[in-house]
């Protein structure tokens, strides 16, 4: 699933003003509509209630305790407003938090390391995918899942290329996106995906979100 063109209506929740303003300006320059930029979880809920945005970008650490307010708020939004995509971004990779987020909300969610804002187009692409019901998981989370998986033996049976493809599947990429990332044809990607699912003993699934969930369940430590 790739971002469809056209302006998105976005709510930003980030307590650091410099990052809030920077994001707002960058997204506005790229033609999106930042309908609200707030600094805490409560204001975020109100803004989502008021504006019904396409997507909310949420920092994990926000006042008052600076622990996981953002994560809780993201889960609440997804429960109360399933149509609103939620992209959580965090200073640190917390695999467990990501797993929690994806367990409760299989579609229209994303979890990215805050550093990813530096690659602006990729970041905006991720926002678009989440806004349109896709799934985005930080490559670092996927890397950790692959490393820590207790199914290391089965994973070892995958070829390096298949591992690459599995990693991209887990990140929420569509076959088309995988093809363009790896510079191979969509047909070849399809063949790799079939092989991977066969080797891991998973039922093939063309739905990108369900495919992500299957991969993540499989990789659960």
């Amino acid at each position: 699933m790739t971002a469809t063109p056209g302006p998105l209506r976005i709510v930003i929740a980030e307590d650091a003003a410099i990052m809030r303003d920077g994001l707002t300006q960058t997204l506005t320059r790229r033609g999106h509509d930042v309908v609200a930029a707030v600094a805490d979880a409560e204001a975020l809920r109100q803004a989502v209630e008021e504006h019904s945005p396409d997507v909310a970008i949420v920092d994990v650490r926000m006042p008052p305790t600076h622990t996981d307010e953002g994560l809780r708020a993201a889960q609440a939004i997804h429960k109360e407003h399933p149509a609103v995509g939620v992209l959580v971004f965090s200073q640190y990779i917390e695999t467990a938090s990501a797993a929690e987020l994806f367990a409760s909300a299989p579609a229209g969610v994303g979890y990215l390391l805050k550093d990813r804002v530096a690659d602006v187009s990729d970041f905006i692409d991720a926002i678009g995918r989440v806004a349109h019901g896709g799934t985005v998981l930080d490559p670092e989370v996927v890397r950790q899942l692959l490393t820590a998986s207790r199914r290391g033996d089965t994973l070892a049976a995958l070829t390096p290329r298949e591992r690459e493809v599995l990693s991209l599947i887990a990140q929420g990429r569509s076959n088309a996106a995988i093809a363009s990332t790896l510079f191979i044809s969509p047909k070849v990607v399809e063949k790799h995906v079939a092989n991977i699912f066969d080797k891991l003993g998973l039922a093939p699934d063309d739905n990108d979100n369900r495919r992500v969930i299957a991969a993540l369940r499989y990789l659960e430590p």
């Binding site: 307590d15 650091a16 410099i18 990052m19 920077g22 994001l23 960058t26 320059r29 650490r61 305790t65 600076h66 622990t67 996981d68 200073q91 640190y92 990779i93 917390e94 695999t95 467990a96 938090s97 805050k114 550093d115 804002v117 530096a118 690659d119 602006v120 187009s121 950790q144 899942l145 490393t147 820590a148 998986s149 207790r150 290391g152 430590p221």
Partner: protein, 413 residues
């Protein structure tokens, strides 16, 4: 020989008094037999003798009463038992050798009773002696004055000698008694001093322990603040900078022309991203923010980033203090890294459970074993760190494995 007998007599006062009484009895027996008197008078005389001797037996127990009894008998003897150098009207009250009991009793009084009492006794004896000599008055003697002076010197000397001997014994007793009192007082004082010193040391130890706990808590809180400041300050600014550089780079890519500027911006962009990653590792090394949510979530993330699969169990009903949580976290991080680097293990088990008044964290791997504490090494450093809060670190790692490292920590520093 003499010294041995003296010692024996000192240790057996009853036997000594019995011997003395027997001696007096032997001296007096002849007198009872001699003299012209009827059987009744003889019996009465014997009774007075026995009474006098009895005071020797009772002298230690009743020094004053015994002395008084003897004094009364002696007074009666002076009044009724002698006159003008010869026997008096009452045969039974004639002076007898058993009167030697009187100096013995004076000695006893001086030895066992206060000075006031013994001096009174001495006065009574001297007075009695004077009266006795006066009433004896040997006018028939060839040199009455000499005889009188001789008798006075004899009686007075005997009395004074008995008193002085007794008093010196009392003096020795008193001195020994005072010495023992002084010694006891000194011992008590030394004991009190020692107890005071122990109490002071215990108080100081408690104070130092509290101070150490405060210092450890404060240091943990300070590290947490530094991480928070980095997160809210440098990290955010750097991320915003990297985002701006990323946007500039993409804009330049859209309108090609100035390749040199594009290359420079690309380098700056990459540097900013690398620095961001380094800063994140640094901040996490100072205080992983996930610790604010508890040791369980923090160890979960640690387990997730381990190079080998980790089986994690955390069973705690109560959260330890932040400083202890941080210490447990860094121990786990170091031990997991060790297992990944050195053990050759395929799997690690990390568990945290409650124990007594704290927690026990154990890291077990199925690797090659042979882990040892080397001075200056990682495990030794870890143990030193754990010991700053009175914790313990134990290693079980036989050659061939498995390796189990257990860290015990209190709930509070």
């Amino acid at each position: 020989m003499m010294a041995g007998m003296n010692a024996w007599l000192r240790e057996h006062p009853r036997q000594a008094d019995a011997l003395l009484a027997a001696g007096l009895l032997a001296l007096s027996a002849g007198q009872v037999a001699a003299g012209q008197a009827g059987p009744v008078e003889r019996v009465a005389f014997a009774a007075v003798t026995v009474l006098l001797i009895a005071t020797v037996i009772s002298r230690r127990r009743y020094p004053v009463a015994s002395f008084a009894a003897a004094a009364v008998i002696a007074a009666a003897q002076i009044a009724f038992g002698m006159q003008n150098g010869g026997p008096g009207p009452v045969f039974a009250l004639q002076p007898t050798n058993a009167d030697l009991a009187i100096p013995v009793l004076l000695y006893t009084l001086a030895a066992y009773r206060s000075r006031a009492v013994s001096v009174t006794g001495l006065a009574i004896c001297l007075l009695g002696s004077a009266v006795a000599i006066a009433s004896w008055s040997p006018s028939h003697a060839a040199h009455p004055t000499y005889a009188l002076l001789g008798a006075a010197a004899g009686l007075g000397g005997l009395t004074l000698t008995a008193w002085v001997l007794g008093d010196s014994v009392a003096y020795r007793y008193r001195r020994a008694y005072y010495a023992s009192l002084e010694e006891r007082a000194a011992r008590l004082e030394a004991e009190r001093d020692a107890q005071a010193r122990i109490a002071a040391a215990a108080e100081r130890a408690r104070e130092l322990q509290e101070r150490r706990a405060r210092a450890i808590d404060e240091s943990a809180a300070r590290l947490r603040r530094i991480e928070r400041d980095l997160h809210d300050g440098a990290q955010v600014r750097l991320a915003a900078l990297a985002m701006t550089l990323g946007e500039i780079k993409e804009n330049l890519e859209q309108s090609p022309g100035d390749d040199r500027t594009l290359a420079l911006v690309g380098t700056a962009h990459q540097n900013a991203k690398d620095t961001l990653a380094e800063l994140r590792d640094l901040a996490r090394g100072i205080h992983p923010p996930v610790l604010d949510r508890g040791i369980g979530p923090a160890l979960g993330i640690l387990a997730g980033t381990s190079a080998i699969p980790v089986g994690l169990t955390v069973a705690l009903t109560e959260r330890p203090s932040p400083a202890i949580e941080a210490m447990a976290y860094f121990c786990a991080a170091e031990l997991l890294a060790n297992a990944a680097k050195h053990s050759g293990a395929s799997r690690v088990t990390l568990s945290v459970r409650e124990q007594d008044c704290g927690l026990a964290l154990s890291v077990a791997d199925d690797g090659d074993g042979g882990a040892r504490l080397i001075p200056g090494g990682g495990l030794a450093g870890l143990r030193e760190r754990v010991q700053t809060v009175d914790g313990r670190l134990e290693i079980g790692s036989p050659p061939g494995g498995p390796t189990i490292v257990t860290v015990e920590l209190p709930r509070h520093a």
